[in-house]
Symmetry: none
DNA sequence: ACAGATCCTGACGAGACCTTGACGCCCGGC
DNA sequence: GCCGGGCGTCAAGGTCTCGTCAGGATCTGT
């Protein structure tokens, strides 16, 4: 059973997609604008995303840009525009397929099947372990010394963005963009606050972090 | 350089595709009917296949069926027919994308890029190594004799600008511009200070640099 | 509508970082 | 030999960034 996130601001189309996809055996979540789309994607980790380019708040390519740093599943773009340049732009921004409206539902489903067939061998272990805590990316659960710890959605978004690339530095802009959205790239204060909370919940000694390291002026790094 | 097999019985379109794909950096082979297509594919093991459904000898889905048991690369299907049922049939038979004629070349190229991107999702980390230290550009991490060394943002900017072009001289203006910005092209003093810090952190003997060389009056050079 | 959780925002001390100036060295030109 | 320019080193000042705390705004579920 695959989970799909539908991002569209047209309630009618959104509803039609939900019904069709449910009937085809997908679990469906929907988002009405770009910000909630990025957030929901980070929260729920869908297997694939259907993204309408005509959103009220963000440009479709901005959503793609926010998604792509960490989201590895297929993204199918819907658009009312059939212009070739739009297609090229979206595809090069990271979309895997591009379907112009109006479209045929059965074709959409076939394209989703084709994307999935290629997309997810996923041999990756979605569980990140350290000596002190484990992060289960699929179940969205964190345990510290065997005890389950509750994280808020924001804390989880930040943590998962970090532990997905162990040992790699993640820039402040990347973190802000993937957790709060592209418009928040300057709000580095948020990072300080929430990194503090994460350290208090996860680190054995929050004052001297062992796993969630700061690289001053650049970003943060998770070292297992 | 990827190799692509074009299967089409229309010589004119075939030729146009060959020219366009060559210009885009592909190696191109062509086949005019289904049987030679299957044989060529088996012989040459192309990275991807562009398959026209309207072939003289075999039905397009038959070619797909013959290809798919062993060919794992992406297959993009071309067709004169825009009927949804055809698309669904081809996609479910193993095609990864379906483009109706007439089509736009730039869109086709973009779709090929999208297909290829998905095929090889693991671009390995670009790591620069010397006998004494390694620079991991993607992870933004430097190790000296196996020990992680912390760099400040400015130090990192300078170092990465240098090691990206091993053996090549990088002028002072280039360095200043790429690290501090266009307004700082005269501040050569900055370079002396920070090159000194880098040498102290990376060189086995900072007084006699082995990797970070000065070219008086010109710039600096990283020699592996 | 209410209660609790969660998020945003501002202030402040501590520390890291960047900039700047001074000084000595080496080398080539006069 | 004397001089000047480019280079390397060092240290100190000022600026920016980081971590922390807490109060108020906002959201969520009942």
């Amino acid at each position: 059973m695959s989970r799909v996130l539908v991002v569209d601001d047209d309630p009618q189309l959104s509803r039609a997609l939900r019904i069709t996809l449910r009937a085809a055996g997908y679990e469906v979540e929907t988002a009405g604008d770009g910000r909630t789309a990025l957030r929901d994607a980070a929260d729920q980790h869908p297997d694939l995303v259907i993204l309408d380019l005509g959103l009220p708040d963000l440009d479709g390519t901005e959503v793609l840009a926010g998604l792509r740093p960490w989201f590895t599943g297929p993204v199918l773009v819907l658009s009312a525009r059939a212009d070739s340049q739009d297609k090229v732009g979206a595809l090069d921004a990271g979309a895997d397929d591009y379907v112009s409206k109006p479209f045929d539902m059965s074709e959409l489903l076939a394209r989703l099947r084709a994307l999935q067939r290629r997309g997810t061998p996923e041999p990756e272990d979605p569980i990140v372990r350290t000596d002190h805590f484990t992060v289960d990316l699929a179940a969205r659960q964190v345990t510290v010394d065997g005890v389950v710890v509750r994280l808020t959605p924001t804390e989880w978004g930040l943590l998962s963005a970090l532990v997905r690339t162990p040992g790699r530095l993640v820039s402040q802009r990347q973190l802000l963009q993937s957790v709060w959205g592209p418009a928040y790239q300057k709000e580095t204060h948020y990072l300080r606050v929430y990194m503090g909370q994460l350290r208090r919940k996860l680190e054995p000694d929050p004052a001297q972090p062992r796993y969630l390291h700061t690289e001053p002026g650049m970003g943060y790094r998770f070292t297992p």
